[in-house]
Symmetry: C2
Subunit: 215 residues, 2 copies
Amino acid sequence: MCAKLNVAVLIYPGVEMIDMNGPIDVFIKANGLNNGKYNIYSLAETLGSIPSENSLVTLTPTYSFANCPEPSIIIIPGQIISEGPPPEIGNGSEKLIAWLKEMGDKSSITIMSVCIGAYILARTGMLAGKKATTHYSSIKDFQSKYPNTHVIKNVRYFKDGNIVTTGGITSGIDGALSLIEQLDGVDIAQHVSDIMVYNRGAPLPPYTLLPPYDD
Amino acid sequence: MCAKLNVAVLIYPGVEMIDMNGPIDVFIKANGLNNGKYNIYSLAETLGSIPSENSLVTLTPTYSFANCPEPSIIIIPGQIISEGPPPEIGNGSEKLIAWLKEMGDKSSITIMSVCIGAYILARTGMLAGKKATTHYSSIKDFQSKYPNTHVIKNVRYFKDGNIVTTGGITSGIDGALSLIEQLDGVDIAQHVSDIMVYNRGAPLPPYTLLPPYDD
């Protein structure tokens, strides 16, 4: 019997609803097709109540850094964004960054940021020298803040080794499906996207496309 | 100054993550473009902790039936579904059904079910004589259980008067965007879907399409 793969989803005050729940839903639905391969849990710096974006729902994580099982996959959602680069990203505390760095040192781990969760990942230094993407409205800002990262635009997600970064919001669903394809095969990934009535093949909405030579 | 429109999102044990959070996210993002027109809140039968699908996150609602502001719009998400018709739908308690019936009697209210949240709505009797849709894997079961409803297949959502029903999971995003289009206009609806990097125009995934003459 194989051990389950631990999938940790970071939550923090203001966490974006689909950034967080898109990937969660993908892994839950995959579990229904692969004999429950994934042990999915939410995780925060400390236990206790966490207000989601706009405080619409109060979330309580399954684990804190202090007691969580060692993750094989970490998902880092973004937080609320209206337009343009956010003034402050997530909680991104020193403790969170230190924990992520420690996790990132393990060669067996996969880390995926969703939307502007890429800023949290960048702060750990793990995106230096890597190719990565983020929400289309933050691409320029991200590139200027992290010039050592080769920022890719007009994609739903980008994989560079064991790091996956995704574009805005629903693109987290695409990123998670790409991990399912890698870990469970294309048929299960397609089945999950069917159950979710999600069209993986859909083009990016035209307005979100950035011109090819604008930087 | 106009009063805000109250948007109530029902939550209950096992609530599906995207069914619930897709529409929430749409209304949150619309609020960023229309001067905060919507007062969005989560709502459950009683206050206290509620485990979401697979107990991944524990949710605490903003209000209970006893103290919630009178809603103008009610969203009813579905619960976990693997394949085929679910054995039991949501909490669907008598109290919930009675509350929905009371709300449904108001001519000014809009009610939207997501995915198999349609079963909860059907139990209130509000879908009798109406056209409605649900998750593709439950279409036949739903039609056999509710023969007085004209079940529409192969659509992301369907509006019949003040009742909106949507197909599976991500289709709740489409249903909510259709309400934004109605209430805020097509430009804001398009802008919200752009921010979410969601392609409204995408076709349904081929495997989810039901044959035209199978019933």
